[in-house]
Symmetry: C3
Subunit: 434 residues, 3 copies
């Protein structure tokens, strides 16, 4: 096992990424891409501030150098250098002295989780604020407080990063995750880390039927940027997509939120495999919660993009707080997620629609060495027919309507059982992928 | 409550209409329209006798001034001035003396209901006859009888009557009932009386999404006349229709006979609401019995017209006899029918297909005041998301394929729950009805 | 009952056909057609050797005059004149002396059925061989054996034979069976014999809605020949087909293997009738086993051709051996198969899609004598409405989408119950078959 496959590798990489102050734009995000760029060849796509993205507009970059809140006795009530969640992300600059009472509307805390610092953002409306634990807030004494935020809004870019592994077909699978969250673990360093692991696995396959595109970007505005640049390409080539989201944490099962129309090849495969011990479950699409899959599945796109998670769809109390840390997430679950996802995409490689190029009657298989030239029904001979049966089924049903999952289902088999028969028929040019 | 909403109003109106000798054409029908015309602005549509209506022809008008049958002792065995059911409707003129034996083939009675005078018609074949109770018939003595019917067949018109309440959309709902039956109550003064009540309710709504057309006409030939005049209009504008039929009588529940293809908006709503305590049940279309819905649902039209009844579809023994009177029908059930139907059409107003005008990704709701501009996940805030959820669902699924019932069903909600969210999205021009 | 309907007739015909050495081409096949040609007017269709049939090629004719295997003591170990299964069908010529050891690879036997001589063919690869029982093989002594096969491969034809019974419509039903098997009974003299019986029954019907085509041919290459000649005709006219296969033997029930897309009129009827005591069961299509239906149902054709059998689909141990003889097959089961199949095709004659020629509203049935001209609801009258109900249902649903099975199902009736109503509506030109 190479170092890049080990728990230690992911643990070290996590530790390097964790403290960076990321946001949906700006230097923290770029620094994070640079770190990932050491391990996969990331191409940067940048969209200028102010660009209209459908109903949205790329905001100015947020640069924040310092942010702290001093108490009446000079103590640091909040300080982004201690924990970058302590400043409201995208806070406008401020330097003001005010009473505790005046301060209250700029403070965010969670009574239900008194020790947690919440994660709060205000990307599209100018505000400033600090996040503190409820227990700290309850102890604040009356007096004068000084709030200092040294931030700037700068014309720059919305930055996306991608790499592509080409396959035999230009039909494409999109794998994406988001990297805009500051110091939190499961949501969301887990997704980019698993995406990196999956890239390495798929790269090592001896061949690939499909092309795989890996994307990192900020959430929401980032996927809108992806769609802005690639919507036409996706309309032609995208067969399925998967958003990687919250892939650490306790529950051992992967949960796939399906695409809106539930009609992608991946959607279909996930149902097929979930009857066969692949260790995942399926839930339907909803626009109410989730992540970037909501953009891909908007009514104007309806791209078959799913979202996979171990813990997000079911919810966890540490979500969007300082308690979502390495202790909560763990590193082992990331490796397990990588293993399970690779296994699913290995099966995905067997999923395709083929056309039988000799559709008028049964082709003469004997002359191609695929069928006995002697007709002799005996017990011994009929017991060797398994692959021949796959061949007959594939030929009869490769009619441009049935895909290999349909054909496997007609036989009560798994699509992966037909791998050898599919290969032989492709070699003999009896089947051609469509 | 205005007088026109009271039981007394409907009772008085019933009493005025009951004794009139109506038929599918002629003066009794016109007189009845005149009476209704006092309470809603009826426009008269008249089609000349002899006009070809598809496979039919408008018959001449039937005018009947007198009809009686004198017994051997001069007693009035039947007399249309006593009860207008006693003459076979559309009887040809006759003045003849004949024996009891010869008379028998011109008499109609019901052995199974010995006290009832049956309702018999012969619109398209010339006949004459009298209807009597079986008990009276059994007592008739041998001897000479005199049959006198002073009727004429006159070139005139087939008369229809309508009024329209315009809505924001020119998509139209047809509400119709038939007024050709002479002195019977449930079948069929109930339908026209409920139609009048529903007109007053819908007229009072502050606004109407749909246009509502109210039609009164004779049965069968009348609806064929409506189709003759309006079939092209209906093909463009009719979203659903409802025939009002037998809306008094015992059973407390409304029963909706659905349209043939069961694919109108009203069909769909009726299923949706019947899981939600609206107090009605649904039965499938059949061409075997029923009323004018059979014409609207003929294979050449296939208009989504349903039929509603409290007692017709299940059958009642007084049907088409003198026992179908005010005692049987009652007035209270009519008011209850009006209440329930209004409630259903209020829900209908929320049923529409919309197009999301910003379908590429999620629209920016924050800038329109429909979404918090601060991202902060706390218990308190997530408990206020009900309307926001309706908004997200309406936006994602308003893709020209899903209507609001589909979207409500996806959430396990009633379509009426989304009324406020629909309004806000229409105001913001995010949704547009199609 | 004429002689041609009797058990004796089929028994005598069987005895005449049994000993002939048939193959997929050649004189034995032609001689067998000649015998059938005495009882039905068979037209011969011949395709020259070497003709390309889709992915196949018509092989040269096989003529075999003698084939025997002499043992060390001069005994006849195998001899095609004793039992024509004893030579591998399509053996190349040979005259050779060889040791028992060398001989073994040219011998075929079945350890699991020690007394049976197996049926072995090698049409498309040149080989020679003999088939013997396992018990005989076990007794073969070491020594020199002489193998003599006097066969020739001759340019000639692939021969097919057909006859057609015309119906009112040029929509066509294909009935086919195969005649290439040498001395075996159930598989496959049963199919051609039942086909002959069915021909005589259908010929005697007073009228036929559909046209029936009866085909005899060799298996696989023969049905490919049929498709080569008739595929365009079938695309225009074929409404359903049925391959007759293994119609003798024990099980009393007919088993229908449905067509691939399960969408032919016969497919639909078979489900409809199997709920109504017609004594058959249904199994889905599969390309894995079966006979010529696999060619008709190939993806390039997808013709709705089923296959019927009493014993084939469930398997029987005597299959493709000398034990598949008259004792196993019986003659009575053939007559029973003919009876049951005729009954099904009599029902098939009532299956059609009609168009209501007066689709705008209900047509005026009174003026055509199909409906009472007097409207009078009484117990007595409503009890006579069965046929009237069929008429109303047929008129309303004959909309080019529903066929008569659909309309029967809507009423919970059998399609044969509507025979009289269908006739009356066709006579009145209210319905027209499409």
């Amino acid at each position: 096992m190479s170092y890049q496959e080990t728990e230690a590798f992911y643990s070290d990489l996590y530790d390097e990424l964790y403290p960076i102050l990321r946001s949906i734009t700006g230097p923290g995000l770029r620094q994070s891409y640079d770190i990932f760029g050491r391990y996969l060849p990331l191409e940067r796509l940048s969209i200028p501030s102010g660009t209209v993205l459908f109903d949205w507009q790329v905001p100015q970059e947020w640069h924040c150098d310092e942010a702290y809140l001093l108490g009446p006795d000079g103590e640091r009530v909040a300080d982004m250098h201690r924990l970058n969640l302590e400043v409201v992300n995208y806070s406008e600059p401020v330097d003001i002295t005010l009473s505790l009472e005046e301060l209250q509307s700029h403070l965010y805390s969670l009574p239900e989780l008194p020790e947690a610092v919440p994660y709060v953002t205000s990307y599209y409306k100018k505000r400033w604020g600090f996040c503190v634990s409820q227990s700290r807030r309850d102890q604040l004494k009356p007096g004068q407080y000084r709030a200092v935020i040294k931030s700037r809004f700068v014309d720059g870019h919305l930055d996306l990063a991608q790499t592509v592994l080409e396959g035999q077909s230009d039909q494409e699978v999109l794998l994406s995750s988001y990297l805009c969250h500051p110091s939190m673990a499961n949501n969301e360093l887990s997704g980019p880390l698993v995406l990196l692991g999956l890239y390495h696995r798929i790269k090592q396959w001896p061949n690939r039927r499909y092309t795989y595109r890996f994307m990192l970007h900020p959430e929401t505005i980032g996927s809108l940027g992806v769609l802005h640049l690639l919507q036409d390409h996706f309309r032609q080539h995208l067969v399925s997509g998967l958003v990687l989201n919250c892939l650490g944490g306790d529950p051992q099962e992967l949960v796939f939120k399906h695409s809106r129309n539930d009609n992608g090849l991946l959607d279909k495969l996930l149902y097929h495999l979930s009857e066969r011990d692949y260790g995942h479950s399926n839930i339907p699409f909803s626009p109410l919660s989730g992540s970037d899959e909501r953009q891909y599945n908007a009514p104007g796109f309806q791209f078959p993009v799913c979202c996979v998670s171990r813990s997000f769809h079911t919810g966890y109390k540490e979500y969007h707080t300082s308690l979502d840390n390495k202790d909560y997430m763990g590193i082992k679950p990331l490796l397990d997620s990588i293993d399970k996802l690779e296994k699913i995409f290995l099966a995905f490689e067997q999923v395709a629609k083929f056309e039988n190029k000799f559709p008028f009657g049964e082709p003469n298989l004997g002359k191609r060495g695929l069928y006995p030239t002697l007709s002799f029904f005996s017990k011994e001979r009929t017991s060797q027919l398994d692959e021949l049966n796959h061949i007959k089924m594939l030929l009869n049903y490769s009619d441009t309507k049935h895909d290999t999952i349909d054909i496997a289902n007609l036989q009560g088999k798994c699509v992966t059982d037909m791998q050898s028969a599919i290969s032989k028929l492709e070699e003999q040019k009896l089947l051609e992928m469509i």
